[in-house]
């Protein structure tokens, strides 16, 4: 390999990884902003444990087909799930799926739909914040 080509190769690797890591930093900051917003609406400190309990609970009140988040998302935050129509759902844990909770529109849409399906009501800002805190820690 010519030295010139080698420089280009190294440069592209640096740019590539630099790009990936900087976009991950950006993703983390948007996600943190979303969580912070829920925290301020809740007015109490958020808890990953409460988020875990919410994810795994079978509170009832929603549709009989979807008694829990885990019905579709799989047993744990790390597992792959499946929609009722059979499409694969990537794990909710941020460590597994780094793009999770980085788009406010999507976060709002899915909380709106799925809280109604599972709990039969809207989720409170505290529940949403707890949920995201738990998933970010996973």
């Amino acid at each position: 390999m010519k030295p010139h080509n080698k420089t280009i190769a190294i440069a592209s690797i640096v740019i590539l990884f630099g790009g990936i890591s900087s976009s991950m930093v950006a993703a983390n900051s948007t996600r943190n902003a979303i969580i912070k917003d829920f925290a301020s609406q809740a007015g109490v400190p958020l808890s990953a444990d409460r988020g875990k309990a919410l994810f795994e609970s079978r509170a009832g009140g929603g549709k009989p087909d979807t008694p829990s988040c885990t019905t579709c998302h799989g047993a744990s935050a790390m597992s792959t799930g499946k929609t009722r129509a059979g499409k694969q759902i990537e794990p909710m844990a941020v460590s597994k799926t780094p793009v999770r909770f980085t788009e406010l529109k999507k976060v709002k849409k899915w909380f709106r739909r799925n809280c109604k399906s599972v709990l039969g009501r809207e989720c409170t800002p505290q529940e949403k914040g707890d949920f995201l805190t738990f998933m970010s820690s996973q």
Binding site: K63, D65, T83, R84, A85, G86, K87, K105, K109, R112, R113, N114, K116, S117
Partner: protein
């Protein structure tokens, strides 16, 4: 066979090969048309092209072949046919060295019906399936109608084949000559006291050149027709909202699979979408609805768009609830739909490899294990 009888070569090799190749192709055509699974359709189509080529060859060989292959040697007059049939009724048919009049009539009938079947098949292929050289020329409606004619002619063909076999058995019995064996070794009995007539030799090169000429001309015509883009198929741009919002939960169905009114109703009832809350932001919902209504079945003229336009009245936007869907999948057992690799009736693309294009070609079906 008495010692006064001689055997002479009647059927030349090309005529015999023609006969048995045709037998094979007709059997292949019947099996792939009636019995085998849909995805053998490709073989059915090639059997059709092969049949046309064989028949064209036989017609040319009827001009350039050796004596008894020539059409003029079995072009009997109306009176001769009637006489022969009367003799058959009285079980005393005259012995013919080449084709007898009844056999000759059968040959013409078979050639006629086989040409009808293959040509109508090409029309069905172009109209209904939007494939082959006539895809850009024939509408779905014409193709669908021709399909009934294609099938009716096949039933006539099967009746003719039955009659042909029956005729061979009866004549073999009455003339004490195994006609099936003759079509294999080419020999027939020269009755005692008769001398072999002067035989004109075949002109194989003339036959080959005419066949190539014919294949060239027809090939050029079909090739030119095949350059016309398929009728009733429009360029579909993908819509990122549709792909992501709907595709998050289920397969991204081709818009041509439902009529406009169904898409309208579906998009208006997203808050209860097959029991699921699938509601969207109003501007995204409007964007997707416009896209789906623009490219709904009315905008197409494909088999899928025509068939699924006949929706089920109590499930207006469930494709698997249509009568057509149920009929086409009636032989697929419930276990197949339960397979992980299939994933249920809503997963067209698990088996229909071209589902995303809306084509749903028979040849593109592959059921995963």
């Amino acid at each position: 066979m008495s010692r006064f009888e001689n055997k002479i070569k009647v059927w030349d090799i090309p005529t015999r090969l023609f006969h048995w190749f045709l037998v094979i192709l007709v059997i292949v055509g019947l099996v792939t048309g009636f019995v085998s699974p849909e995805w053998w359709m490709g073989i059915h189509i090639w059997a059709g092209y092969g049949t046309v080529l064989l028949i064209v060859f036989r017609l040319l060989w009827g001009i350039f072949g050796s004596e008894y292959s020539r059409i003029e040697t079995f072009s009997f007059s109306y009176r001769e046919v009637i006489t022969h049939l009367r003799e058959l009724i009285f079980l005393r048919p005259l012995h013919y060295i080449g084709h007898n009049p009844a056999g000759a009539m059968m040959i013409f009938a078979l050639i006629f019906i086989l040409l009808g079947i293959t040509i109508s098949g090409l029309v069905v292929l172009g109209g209904e399936e939007n494939q082959g050289p006539l895809a850009g020329v024939v509408s779905y409606r014409i193709g669908d109608m021709t399909g009934d004619i294609h099938e009716a002619m096949v039933f006539v063909l099967m009746a003719l084949i039955a009659l042909h076999i029956l005729g061979v058995i009866i004549e073999s019995f009455l003339t004490r000559e195994n006609l099936v064996k003759s079509m294999i070794d080419g020999n027939k009995i020269l009755p005692a006291g008769k001398t072999a007539p002067a035989k004109r030799p075949a002109r194989p090169w003339a036959a080959v050149i005419s066949l190539l000429g014919f294949a060239g001309v027809i090939g050029a015509v079909l090739w030119t027709l095949s350059t016309i883009p398929p009728s009733g198929v429009i360029a579909l741009k993908s819509n990122s909202n549709y792909t992501s919002e709907c595709g998050d939960c289920h397969e991204v169905y081709h818009p041509s699979l439902l009529p406009k009114a169904s898409w309208q109703k579906l998009m208006a009832e997203l808050s209860d979408h097959f029991g699921e809350d699938a509601s969207l932001e109003p501007e995204i919902a409007t964007n997707i609805a416009t896209y789906l209504e623009t490219y709904a079945s009315e905008a197409w003229d494909t088999e899928a768009s025509n068939r699924f336009a006949k929706i089920s009245s109590n499930a207006p936007f469930q494709i698997s609830a249509t009568a057509y869907w149920k009929r086409k999948h009636s032989e697929i057992s419930a276990d197949v739909f339960k397979r992980t690799a299939v994933g249920g009736k809503s997963h067209c693309a698990s088996c229909h490899l071209d589902a995303a294009t809306g084509h749903f070609d028979d040849q593109n079906i592959k059921i995963p294990k």
